[in-house]
Symmetry: C2
Subunit: 341 residues, 2 copies
DNA sequence: CTGAAAGCGCTAACAG
DNA sequence: CTGTTAGCGCTTTCAG
């Protein structure tokens, strides 16, 4: 019915020119109050809604940003961290009156088939027609390259992999976070602190391990191969790693897991095998994912400052969209006290 | 750099007219093979990517659908059901080469402020400029009305509330699902079957309760007020409800919770209070949310046919986008065997 | 402060 | 099969 009300219809009804209508849409202050009132009236009457494509075509910002989620959407279900991250970004986008185009680029069969050639990738980014991108999750160097080539402003949650990427970013200080965990444990008298690493192909996992190693050294605690178990950020792997640790250490008194999921897995094993937590073994996780309600015992963990990261991410993108520079920033995580350490 | 390659540039390079270039984009089969090759070559060389706004403006489908998520995005984190639902829809959209514009309309402060007036709502839907909408989550009757007024094709996961809404839908048969649960329990010899309802303001919760009631009657099992505890779909409420039930029934031998989250809450209480499951009390949930890895004991539950729902949703929308009618459909859930009943 | 006119990039008749 | 010619709805000079 009123699907096709255009600016001309409004102009006709209000007895002005299209240009004037357009003006009240964009710079209302420069049009005479009475005329403006008349026009607004007409718009309401006709139930007019501007066509964003036409708008975009004539060179105006869409105010739409592509939220590139470099994971399978299912990950939103499997690890709450991703849900936290995307939700946070989404909220901040909304708060800045930006529309969001969530684009998932995971490993699901269907989406994998879409990107067989570099060419397709390029096309993909260039063709989104958004004002900029926000990136969540880990992208390959190729993906990073193509995204860069699209020449659209983009800000990453995390860090670019390419040496001197023009892509800017906001990241948590993973190393400092891990150190926070170790220091906390050490200060509580723990001496035999093990760690369960994440997938070391990913930078955050490496950083967290590095932070652990350094903090252990700093605290002058003995380190040993058998104290470092390798996981891959999944709950299952956390459980396996915990078993592995228990089987080769009998004086273990603490574990720092590189994320909460693995920490939960570890807790389950400890529970099964009859260890008391934190009595015999203390556990600290990482991410501070929304698990408070999931167990009677609240996990002690290292928390990202989600809100600040989200805020800086979109502030940075807004800057870049206006051609301003954006300084990458690294945000300090904090210790979230709980019942497990 | 190549941000502004247009169809004319390609035309010039390939020494043809814009129209011909446009043709290879839309109906390649009607252009001479050699010319086509030349054009494609030129496109590659210039790294040409069509401008979707221009395209849309000249009356072509965007192939973009708005995925309206009528919940706060945080719900993706809190209850895996929403993650399952949106992921499923997303996958099917992708499989059909449709782009997805995820739009969350929850109760977060920021988005709430956006929709203070009916007018804003109308504008919101009309202004999306997508080819159609897919709806996940529960919308108010107002929202439903405005969406309808937008006159864009829309298909709902669930059911419209308005009497004879032109909005079409795909839904699980909640009543049948609940009956499945009760029948299963009854067939295993359970006689004192309680239920924990969801938020009865929502149709699915009412349907599941109704299904329970009918199946109980059918199985000639005694019903009683004290067997019906009210929850709100959260884990916490499931736990509370379980306590409530335990406190006023001493012969309880089974519980049907209206969703998995509440079932988990109930299991936690049973565990704490020292009941054996399913030895003393059997538990069945609803939704078959991806919790397999969450506990050693797998929850017996009623599962939606996610894939089929997703497929029909998208197929239905595609039909409606072409002006074809779409028959709403109701999909039967199935019993997912587990270790708790 | 307002109107007329040109053009954003693409598609769709209509002729050839 | 291909080129020409109009727009799609909106913004934006440039005059008035």
């Amino acid at each position: 019915m009123d699907k096709k009300v255009t600016i001309s219809d409004v102009a006709r009804l209000a007895d002005v020119s299209k240009a004037t209508v357009s003006r009240v849409l964009n710079r209302p202050e420069i049009v005479a109050p009475e005329v403006q009132a008349r026009i607004r009236q007409a718009m309401a009457e006709l139930n007019y809604a501007p066509n964003r494509h036409a708008r975009a075509l004539s060179g105006v910002r869409t105010k739409t940003v592509g939220l590139l989620f470099f994971r399978d959407l299912w990950d939103l279900v499997l690890n709450p961290f991703w849900g936290m991250a995307t939700s946070t970004v989404y909220e901040h986008l909304l708060a800045n009156e930006l529309d969001c185009n969530l684009i998932a680029l995971g490993h699901s069969i269907t989406s994998r088939e879409r990107f067989t050639t570099p060419d397709r990738y390029r096309r993909f980014f260039a063709t989104r027609n958004v004002d900029g991108f926000l990136v969540v999750g880990h992208m390959s160097t190729d993906q990073e390259r193509y995204l860069t080539e699209s020449e659209l402003p983009a800000v990453i949650w995390g860090r670019p992999e390419l040496p001197d990427s023009p892509l800017t970013y906001v990241d948590s200080d993973h190393r400092a976070g891990a150190a926070l965990a170790v220091d906390h444990l050490a200060s509580r008298g723990r001496r035999h602190i093990a760690t369960i690493t994440g997938d070391l192909a990913l930078a955050p996992a490496r950083d967290r391990l590095d932070g652990y190693t350094r903090a252990m050294a700093q605290a002058q605690l003995a380190q040993h191969q058998s104290l470092v178990a390798h996981g891959d950020f999944t709950r299952r792997s956390g459980a396996d790693a915990m078993n592995w640790l228990l089987n080769r250490n009998n004086d273990l008194d603490a574990v720092f897991a590189a994320n909460d999921e693995m920490a939960i897995g570890a807790l389950e094993v400890l529970d099964q095998r009859g260890y008391s937590v934190p009595g015999q073994i203390a556990v600290v996780g990482f991410d501070n994912v929304a698990l408070p309600q999931q167990r009677t015992q609240r996990l002690t963990t290292i928390g990202h400052d989600y809100n600040q990261i989200g805020a800086q991410l979109v502030a940075g993108l807004l800057d870049r969209m206006q051609g301003l520079p954006h300084q990458p920033s690294v945000i300090s995580p904090v210790l979230i006290p709980g019942d497990t350490a």
